[in-house]
């Protein structure tokens, strides 16, 4: 009995924040799902007048209008206008006026680091996004602490002399790129006793608040003891700010892709600071086709490339390549 209630509590801990932004009747329906399913929930999607979709780590399901999950849209619970307006209020803590910045960027970070993506009618002013009106869709992404996912790759990222290599993670969306990055940051910052590596100061530029999941500027994820986070800061500017102000030994950032990001990285390289970053893509060749990244890769400064996929589940490390193109690790499948 005790065990059961404790396991329920664990589920509640990671899902409370997510379920807490849903109206009461939806909360009850989701809490009635079996614990096995609750543990797999990755996202909850609400779209006006369409079925409420629950993304599990293996597939997407609809919430059945009375109980459990279903695959047939006809039996699914259909999201209505009242649900949408309640979610807006709950997500915004009843204060949409306080979220202008967040509406401009299209997502809100909840306490505990969960992310809510928002869609609706976008209002622009001078071709800049001003705000969003008539909000009609949400994607609530569950964030679970995943400590230890970087254990297997860390030995490839630290040189025998105890330096961190310039590292780039290449991964398609939803393959655990940010989760892996976060755990690498945490372990580099805390130190890795097994590898005789004492921690280094890590500066994180978290433009999309995904790495540290800051809420009111305070990281909601464990990003390590020696980590400084610039939340919601544009990457290029942020990297320079950290370089000047926080004297980091490693600068980490997510999803580089713009010209100014690459320029900022060049500056960092010249300053002797190590770079830890990610890009979207499913292979080295694909990343190489993006002109901005080609430039970075041609400079031959990145010393370690880690390629991720979902082939053996989220966060499968496909390949680790060193700066000269030599393969250090290759996933052979099951």
């Amino acid at each position: 009995m005790n065990l059961v209630s404790r396991s329920l509590e664990n589920i509640n801990n990671s899902l409370t924040g997510v379920v807490g932004v849903l109206p009461l009747h939806l909360r009850k329906m989701i809490h009635r799902l079996p614990p096995v399913i609750l543990n797999q929930v990755e996202e909850v999607r609400l779209r006006y007048h369409r079925p409420l979709t629950i993304g599990l780590n293996s597939k997407d399901c609809f919430l059945h209008h009375t109980h459990g999950l279903t695959d047939t849209p006809e039996q699914a619970y259909i999201v209505n206008a009242d649900d949408i307006s309640r979610v807006i209020q709950l997500v915004s803590n009843s204060s949409i006026y306080a979220l202008e910045e967040e509406l401009r960027s299209g997502y809100i970070t909840l306490p505990a680091g969960h992310r809510v993506g928002i869609t609706g009618k976008v209002l622009t002013e001078n071709s800049q996004v001003k705000t969003m009106k008539y909000i009609s869709g949400f994607n609530i992404r569950v964030s679970r602490p995943m400590t230890g996912v970087a254990d297997a790759v860390l030995k490839h990222l630290i040189s025998p002399q105890g330096f961190v290599y310039h590292t780039m993670l290449i991964s398609p969306p939803r393959c655990g790129k940010t989760t892996l990055l976060r755990d690498i940051i945490r372990q580099l910052s805390n130190g890795v006793p097994g590898l005789n590596f004492t921690g280094v100061t890590v500066g994180v530029v978290d433009e999309r608040s995904e790495i540290a999941g800051c809420y009111h500027g305070i990281p909601q994820h464990d990003v390590g003891l020696r980590t400084d986070v610039l939340d919601a800061c544009p990457k290029a500017v942020g990297m320079m700010m950290l370089l000047r102000s926080m004297s980091p030994q490693v600068i980490a950032t997510d999803e580089i892709g713009r010209v100014e990001d690459v320029l900022a990285i060049e500056d960092i390289l010249n300053a002797g600071v190590k770079v830890l970053t990610t890009v979207h893509g499913s292979s080295l060749e694909e990343s190489n086709r993006r002109p901005v990244l080609t430039k970075l890769l041609q400079m031959k400064v990145i010393e370690r490339l880690i390629i991720l996929s979902r082939s053996n589940g989220v966060g499968t490390v496909e390949q680790i390549i060193d700066g000269s193109g030599k393969c250090l690790f290759k996933n052979r499948g099951d």
Binding site: R86, I88, S94, S95, T131
Partner: protein, 172 residues
């Protein structure tokens, strides 16, 4: 002897009713003024601090006159209870409770109800407009209330005692 006590009792009861009604008329302009300044505070919190609504209402509850603080504290309690209710629902529940203990009438309550339906659900400019509109309407109600107070406070003060006296005269 018994008759004497009866007479005193009737006079006291009727006077009390009269005083209570008069007191409502006397207090209404004052409550409306307090409400206006509370809404002004709320507007400042929203316009300059973009303070989240539960915090903003909490601030207002602390700083406004204590006669009307209940409206804000009850709303905040409902909002932070985590039961998934909206601002409109929380505000309406608080308002119902508040109407019973304050001197505002149904017209004033209607202004506040309309405001509650709009609180927190739009951008800053919109919020400011709604708060200003509510303040404007409360101001009009307040000036009406002043006129009514002048007319009615004395009237009901006397009317209570005199109606008691009438009852006594008729029945003796």
């Amino acid at each position: 002897m018994l008759t004497f006590f009866g007479v005193i009792l009737i006079l006291l009861a009727c006077s009390y009713v009269g005083f209570a009604v008069a007191e409502k008329y006397r207090r209404r302009p004052q409550d409306l003024r307090y409400l206006q300044s509370a809404l002004q505070m709320l507007e400042t919190e929203i316009a300059y601090g973009a303070t989240p609504l539960p915090d903003a209402l909490g601030q207002v509850a602390q700083r406004c006159e204590k006669d009307i603080a209940a409206l804000f504290t009850v709303t905040v309690d409902q909002l932070i209870s985590g039961d998934g209710g909206t601002v409109r629902e929380a505000w309406e529940r608080a308002l119902k409770h508040f109407c019973r203990q304050s001197a505002i009438n149904s017209a004033d309550a209607a202004v506040l109800t309309a405001l509650g339906g709009n609180l927190g659900i739009s951008d800053q400019q919109d919020q400011i407009k709604h708060l200003q509109l509510a303040r404007e309407q409360l101001k009009i109600e307040a000036s009406k209330a002043e006129v009514e107070a002048v007319k009615n406070v004395k009237l009901y003060n006397y009317l209570g005692f005199l109606s008691g006296l009438t009852i006594v005269i008729i029945f003796i």
